[in-house]
């Protein structure tokens, strides 16, 4: 039985699934254009990611193992699923778990081929997950402490923005975004441009259509992370979008202002500055709500 509310939900879902990759691709195009301008050159057209996608989709299909292909679909599917869960205003932790499912799937894809660069890339991707996952979960805990629920719906139900209570956690998303977008200084597992020691890391053995699908998953993931950032200012959401775009711009800026670091530095930075400061932020909320200064 399809009630109007279910129909609306389906409509929103389809809309999200269609619009998200378009917006994500466009944002990546803007990223490339902006990066080019930061480097004093003209850069590709903003729709370049779509050209790349269509071209890759129509390349000859070659691969090393059949099993490596399954993981691509799971990777993309998990990214889409986590976005849908966000749109449905579901449980934050579940969204993050689903995102992690996609991440693990990609790692397994890298492992599934006996190729040095893809395997080392996978090992490093695991470290990247180790670096950003705690920050994401801490953010979810932050949401919970402020709203009293892990449901995203509770964030929207709350009138005042979360940013005031969780400023440091919001800022830690610069690190999360940097890692997720494979930007300097954290582009250690598979850089966008391949001038690194691992060729293209765990993407080395993927080509054509499968690379295109991974690229598309990347677009969904970008939108997902930006969506989560938007939650820090959910009412009105447009301010949240602005906030997320600001952080996105900041990440691009940092990408161009620093060298790539090694995995040890990455873990040190994310666990100390990212997770560590997030914990302080949470601790402050504990103390303040204990003192009765903020409701929690």
């Amino acid at each position: 039985m399809i009630t109007p509310s279910i129909a609306l939900e389906i409509l929103v879902t389809v809309f999200a699934l269609v619009v998200a990759p378009l917006a994500g691709g466009l944002l990546f195009g803007i990223d490339r254009k902006l990066t080019a301008r930061l480097q004093n050159r003209i850069g590709p057209p903003i729709v370049q990611p779509f050209y790349d996608f269509i071209k890759l989709w129509n390349k000859d299909q070659i691969f090393a193992n059949r099993s490596q292909l399954i993981y691509v679909y799971v990777h993309l599917g998990a990214a889409m699923a986590s976005l849908v869960l966000l749109v449905w205003q579901q449980d934050m932790l579940v969204i993050l778990f689903t995102l992690a499912l996609g991440g693990i799937s990609l790692v397994l894809g890298g492992f599934s081929v006996r190729s040095p660069y893809s395997q080392i890339g996978s090992q490093r991707e695991l470290l990247q997950m180790l670096a950003y996952e705690p920050m994401l979960v801490l953010a979810a805990v932050g949401f919970y402490l402020v709203t009293g629920s892990f449901l995203v719906a509770a964030v929207f139900a709350r009138g005042t923005p979360l940013l005031f209570e969780l400023p440091v956690i919001a800022l830690s998303f610069v690190l999360v975004l940097g890692i997720k977008l494979r930007k300097s200084p954290f582009d250690i597992a598979a850089a966008g441009h391949a001038h690194q020691e691992l060729v293209r890391g765990l993407l080395t053995e993927y080509s054509g259509r499968y690379l295109a699908l991974i690229e598309m998953a990347h677009w969904y993931e970008l939108l997902l992370v930006l969506g989560i950032i938007s939650l820090f200012w959910a009412n009105p959401l447009v301010v949240g979008f602005g906030l997320s775009l600001l952080l996105y711009f900041l990440v691009i800026l940092i990408d161009n202002a620093v060298a790539r670091l090694t995995w040890t530095s990455m873990l040190k930075i994310t666990w100390s500055w990212g997770a560590g400061l997030s914990v302080l932020n949470l601790a402050a909320i504990y103390v303040l709500s204990y003192l009765g200064w903020i409701g929690g």
Partner: protein, 152 residues
Amino acid sequence: MNIITTARVKSPWILHFDTGSCNGCDIEILACLTPLYDVERFGMINVGNPKHADVLLVTGPANRRNARVLRNLYEQMPAPKVVIVIGTCGCSGGVFHNCYNMLGGIDKVIPVDVYVPGCAAKPEAIIDGVVLALQRLAERSESKPALAEALA
């Protein structure tokens, strides 16, 4: 041009392999990527991995050891693909014509689509060469039999 052809022409990812050039053409290829020539305007990026590449840029004449590497790389590129030889010595052997370890031009090892002469080929010439190669790629993409052959 249909949308697929347009995408193919607008997104040539390059793989660069030096088969024994003097570095002159290699640094000119790199110069193409940098702000003054900025070939990313045309969607070109240096991917450094044959499995991702559409265009193979070869500099220098082949010698016996790198010929097999070149063949491997060409083999690992998914169709449709084009090969551009940059520099005089890659076209024919050039000044290295009487060196004992040289096989001569790249066309003795893999099929070549475009020859860019010059010693070293200027960045402008390299861009011209890529434009020429993309024209051929577009022709191939538009004509069904040629595409089928390329994908086979």
